[in-house]
């Protein structure tokens, strides 16, 4: 599915991040497959939402694209280059175009630097002031993200969480990037501040034609910001499609359960709806279940699900899912189960 198309800004091909654990004398080396062969296109100007539970590998995937974590296999195609295999020095230059916003605005800003220094650092590193003063560029950036331009001499602790996240966004924007990985940018913020940051990011995207990979476990936020959504489970993408379609008509049993678990702020709806409650926790990625990783929690799992690794295939136009019990002819798993269909996909 990862064709090279000029609408694509980035193409991930079978990207892998495997960590070695254990080892040593008489001990076997095990691998944690944090990202286990992800192929994905990110289109120019879109927001691709990446959702999943903790430990599913979504942050690792985001970091691997920017080489903040080294991929152990696969490719990240960008402008004709494979970022996963360029030298560190080349990668450093590429970070002019690819930036990241982090989750914790308390931990991702150096407490000993002033805001002016924090936002100015990438400008100085890449010599991007174009003869003008760095100070002025910093002040303009602060204004862009809704901070008072006079505050350049202040330190991070003098700002609230939402303001700090704005500083993090200004720092990412300082190099005028094309693509930003936003890793849980609103999770640490209060509800009223979350809306501000989501709106700010949407505004910046319109003005600067940015492309976002928006990583979050908050399904309500993803529905709001994302054009397309990728659902991740234990290192693999299990469903991908237009945000609207995925939320209205999810194909995968896992996605269905995820969406049904989100509490809706309306007591009348809450009183009527029935939840799909998944049993158990996300299994350990050290020793994930064989076949389809979700089979241990899936109410529709059959023996083959423990054997066959499902591929991500197009079930409906532009709507992909990885499940052996659905196909483009029979996309509804409940009906397939009722009709006794076994393995029909892949």
């Amino acid at each position: 599915m990862a064709e090279n198309n000029e609408n694509n800004l980035l193409s991930l091909k079978n990207l892998q991040v495997h960590y070695k654990i254990g080892g040593g004398l008489f001990k076997t080396i095990k691998h944690v497959k944090a990202v286990d062969g992800v192929s994905l296109d990110i289109k120019k100007g879109e927001t691709l939402g990446l959702v999943g539970e903790s430990g599913c590998g979504k942050s690792t995937l985001g970091k691997a694209i920017l080489r903040l974590t080294e991929p152990t296999g696969g490719q990240v195609l960008y402008n004709g280059k494979d970022l996963a295999n360029v030298s560190q020095k080349q990668m450093r230059d590429e970070r002019k175009n690819l930036q990241m916003i982090f989750q914790d605005p308390y931990a991702s800003l150096n407490p000993r630097m002033t805001v002016g220094q924090i936002i100015g650092e990438p400008i100085r590193t890449f010599n991007l002031s174009n003869g003008g003063s760095v100070e002025e560029k910093v002040q303009n950036l602060m204004e862009t993200v809704g901070l008072n331009r006079r505050f350049t001499k202040r330190y991070p602790h003098e700002f609230s969480g939402g303001q700090r996240q704005r500083i993090g966004i200004a720092r990412a924007l300082a190099v005028d990037p094309e693509f930003i990985v936003a890793d849980e940018p609103i999770s640490a913020l209060d509800v009223s501040i979350q809306a501000q940051i989501m709106n700010l990011m949407a505004k910046l995207q319109r003005e600067k034609n940015l492309t976002y990979l928006f990583i979050s476990h908050d399904l309500r936020a993803i529905r709001h910001v994302a054009d397309r959504v990728a659902v991740m489970y234990l290192g693999r993408i299990v469903e991908l499609g237009q945000a609207k379609t995925v939320y209205a008509e999810p194909l995968m049993p896992y996605t269905k359960a995820l969406i049904s678990a989100v509490p809706i702020p309306d007591p009348e709806i809450e009183a009527k709806r029935t939840r799909i409650i998944l049993k158990g926790d996300v299994p350990s990625p050290i020793n994930p279940p064989s076949g389809c990783h979700f089979n241990t929690r899936c109410q529709y799992a059959i023996a083959e699900c423990r054997r066959i690794e499902p591929k991500l295939v197009e079930i409906k136009p532009q709507h992909f899912a990885a499940c052996i019990r659905i196909s483009s002819e029979n996309p509804h798993i409940e009906e397939n189960v009722k009709n006794g269909l076994g393995v029909i996909g892949n």
């Binding site: 509800v191 979350q194 709106n199 309500r220 054009d227 989100v262 509490p263 702020p265 939840r275 926790d281």
Partner: protein, 339 residues
């Protein structure tokens, strides 16, 4: 004994202040509510709104100094908790009122086996011997859905996942069959699928044991499905209190309305902007003279900036702290009729 008529908890004009370098912080500044037996109350607010301090006050867990409950009564089953000695409070706390905290990793002792921590509670409060306590602990772990409780009970906290640890916390909180359970952001640190499990568990246990619950959260979605009535707090003040259905259907406070609108709606039109409350939550140590929300409020007028707002009674169960509460309520009613 104070007469209570089926009410398990009556809090009247509770004020808890903290002495800080920046002056007195009025973390909770006058909160009044009652909780009937078997009822669930939701307390909603952003960080620093005073929702957790309210509940720490009820449990008498406010560190003194710097904190102090300066006024008000907290009547739990006929007894004013504020008048009790610390020893008397200890007899109630953990036995008749219990609490679940947000982060189960920091609220369990990492050096002690789960069994030790669970058995301690009933040995202390119910006078169980080791054998009884262990049996009871296993039964409780079973109740909260920990598989293979008999063997898992001798594990250490780090051997459990986040969701399982929260179950252990709930088992501990419920081991003495408390009349009041206070859950402070019980699912905030958990994934959605695990959150759904834990909320379902609390609902189920509540139905079976008839426990009254106070649920503190910042998530309006969580209170919508779980509570009978809701208190919305902002800057240490109760901004609005109402039965759950009414609060969501016809809010009478601009802050509540703003909060409800700023939650992303799954059915929204693509490309529409999310409603946002402008500005930042106030510094509770330096509140403006008028309404604390006035600097962020779209409909604030001169009076809002000059005068502290009244706590307006919309009806017997619905109150709102706003100069224009009746008008805001009327607007909500009109908006709802249009739907």
């Amino acid at each position: 004994m104070i007469e209570q008529n089926g009410k398990i908890l009556t809090v009247n004009d509770l004020k808890t202040y903290f002495q800080t370098e920046d002056g007195v912080v009025k973390a909770v500044d006058g909160i009044t509510f009652t909780l009937e037996k078997g009822e669930t109350l939701g307390i909603v607010g952003e960080s620093g709104s005073g929702k957790s301090v309210t509940n720490l006050s009820i449990m008498r867990l406010i560190p003194e100094p710097p904190g102090k409950i300066v006024s008000g009564t907290i009547v739990f089953d006929g007894v004013d908790v504020r008048q009790l000695s610390i020893d008397e409070v200890r007899k109630i706390r953990g036995k008749r009122m219990a609490m679940i905290f947000q982060d189960p990793m920091t609220s369990l002792n990492p050096f002690l086996k789960i069994s030790t921590q669970l058995m301690e509670v009933t040995e202390l409060h119910l006078g169980h011997n080791k054998k009884q306590a262990r049996e009871h602990a296993i039964k409780m772990l079973d109740t909260v859905g920990i598989p293979d409780a008999k063997n898992r009970i001798d594990g250490y906290p780090h051997e459990f996942s986040g969701g399982m640890r929260q179950r252990v916390m709930i088992a501990m909180a419920l081991s003495c069959d408390p009349e009041l359970l206070i859950a402070d952001e019980p699912t905030t640190a958990l994934d959605v699928t695990i959150q759904a499990q834990i909320l379902e568990l609390i609902k189920d246990l509540k139905a079976r044991m008839g426990t009254s619950v106070i649920l503190i959260t910042h998530d309006l979605g969580v209170v919508a499905g779980m509570t009978d009535k809701i208190i919305v707090m902002y800057a240490g003040k109760v901004f609005e209190q109402a039965p759950t259905f009414e609060l969501f259907a016809t809010p009478a406070n601009p802050y509540t309305k703003g909060l409800l609108k700023s939650v992303p709606d799954p059915a929204h039109e693509d490309g529409t902007e999310l409603y946002q409350i402008p500005g930042l939550p106030p510094d509770v140590a330096n509140l403006p003279p008028g309404c604390p929300f006035a600097p962020r409020c779209a409909r604030a007028e001169d009076i809002c900036r000059a005068q502290y707002p009244p706590f307006v009674e919309i009806n017997e169960n619905h109150r709102s702290l706003c100069h224009f509460a009746k008008e805001v309520y009327a607007e909500s009613v009109a908006e709802r009729e249009k739907l």
